[in-house]
Amino acid sequence: MTLFQAFIEALESLNSNKLRSGLTILGIVIGVAAVIAMLAIGRGAQDSITGAISGIGTNLLFVFSGNDQANLRNVRPLTIQDAEAIGDPFLAPHVAAVAPFIQSGNVIVSAGGEQARTSLGGVTPEYFKVRNFRVAEGEEINQEHLLGRASVALLGVEVAEKLFGRREGLVGETVRIEGQPFRVIGVMEEKGGSSFGSQDDVVFIPMTTARTRIIRRSTINRVDLILVQAVSARDVPQAAEEVAAILRERHRTEVGADDFTILSQQDFLQTVDTILGVFTTFLGGIAAISLLVGGIGIMNIMLVSVSERTREIGLRKALGARKRDILIQFLTESSLLSLIGGLIGILLGWVIAYIVGQIAAATGNAFTPAVGLDAILLATITSTIIGLFFGIYPANRAANLEPVEALRYE
């Protein structure tokens, strides 16, 4: 018996009991579809978040106050002066630009009768360069605004839409931030959604204005974050060293007890990758359990099939079938069940992933589930192996039947 013949016979045999074969296949379909969809969704989430982080710029450093690695007695906050020191080209030759930043995650902005809750960023002109942000209309916050503590605001498109119902022709309008009037000098370009929430739901005002009028800090010169742009992506490590040296000096920290944290985009990516990797594995693991259940279904049906066909097996043996022939016959059937299930499951999983992507897009969390070739290979191979594995016991049972006993079986 050639494998091809075994294949044809297996198809015929599965075909002769369509409902049963179909239900068995369904078990595998669900398992494989779940695995494919889960992996695709996990992968999609990973892609979109890492994409968002990559979009921040590859030569950026984030400097925070505090350090959870060290056990610190007193932590000095980061200040404007720290930022200025980092910006000194003699102290930090690999730093191209420095943008101190303060923020409030929850302010009330109103215009006319409309009001909106949004986040507020107090920025310097460098901020736009460092983040690669541009205005769609109007002008960016400049040095004059900063020095004059001007009451001017740049609106994100989402805020603009909420307050004015449009995103154009807003320059010169007045908005109230925490009750205080600000003149709109521009609207930001649309950034689109990201996994961190919308980047368009934001208002920027000059840092000096923010510090004195909206976001009051205990230490007057304190900033929440310093963004540092290295000269190039290659210079990021040196720039980080220089920043660290400057801050150690200024904060007079003990050796090995930095009271600040410097993160590069790579650090972020790594952390996020790790977390999402665990998340994806977890989802995939749950899906794999349903695949296992599908495999047990195959074993069950194959056992039923073997005992139903005992006489047939006896007859085949009488006509000259060897153990191997019977083994191959039943293994072919079980692997075919799972292979068909696997293929349908891949398609179904793909469809599910696509639908989830559409739903995500419709709700503004654009991310594209990614069905990788590796996931497809994995699912195909796993489902075939499951068919073989769970088929071995029943097939072996069939192959070892005594011909005389089998022929006498009713």
């Binding site: 018996m1 015929e12 045999s13 047939e312 085949r316 006509l319 000259g320 153990k323 005389v404």
Partner: protein, 236 residues
């Protein structure tokens, strides 16, 4: 006389059922010659089917020697026996034992498949079906055939590999006497035309009377009582 196809010496078969041992064969010896048509008769439970299973290489004897077509087969492994069955034995069963989902042609092809024949397989199967008079039923499934026709398919299947012997365990048992006689005629004509060696187990004296030799089995051994004496005993 011609050469012996079957030489069985001192065959015993013991079935163990827990504590109880059933001695189905107790030192049975016989010879069957090439081209012979032999019937095996005997009371129910005398060991006819057990003997047929051993002669057909479906089962091992517990002890004794068995030479089939010049080959000692009593000590062969399962897979070797499978090959012997495939090449040298054709089986005809009381209940036909056809694969219900397959056509007559596919059923007859089956032994050729296990023999690894790929070329001309269909044609050989077709010829075999022609030989049993079923040239018009090649693509019928067993459920679309009468009992007699089904048994003809089984005979075609038994013939297709040109076996040394054909073993039929009550081949007419499931058929009415008219159809049974047709099957018997077919078997006898195959023997005449091809010289096929036939061993037929039967309870029917009319069937046995048409064979060249009757081997009687009683309690697991060949019953050698001469015919005249048996007649007396049965009359008594």
């Amino acid at each position: 006389m011609a050469e012996a196809v079957v030489i069985a010496e001192n065959l015993t078969k013991v079935y163990k059922m827990g504590e109880v041992e059933v001695h189905a064969l107790r030192g049975l010896s016989l010879q069957i010659f090439k081209g012979e048509v032999v019937s095996i008769m005997g009371p129910s439970g005398s060991g006819k089917s057990t003997l047929m299973n051993i002669l057909g290489c479906l089962d091992h004897p517990t002890s004794g020697r068995y030479i089939l077509d010049g080959e000692e087969v009593s000590h062969l492994r399962d897979d070797q026996l499978a090959e012997i069955r495939n090449r040298k034995v054709g089986f005809i069963f009381q209940s036909f034992n056809l694969l219900g989902r397959q056509t007559a042609l596919a059923n007859v092809e089956l032994p050729l498949r296990y023999a690894g024949v790929t070329k001309g397989r269909k044609e050989r199967a077709r010829q075999s079906l022609v030989a049993v008079g079923l040239e018009n039923r090649l693509h019928h499934k067993p459920t679309e055939l009468s009992g007699g026709q089904q048994q003809r398919v089984a005979i075609a299947r038994a013939l297709v590999n040109n076996p040394a012997i054909i073993m039929a365990d009550e081949p007419t048992g499931n058929l009415d006497s008219k159809v049974g006689q047709e099957i018997m005629d077919l078997l006898l004509s195959l023997n005449r035309e091809r010289g096929t060696t036939l061993i037929i187990v039967t309870h029917d004296p009319k069937i046995a009377a048409q064979t060249q030799r009757v081997i009687r089995i009683r309690d697991g051994v060949v019953d050698d009582t001469p015919e005249a004496e048996r007649a007396k005993m049965e009359a008594a």
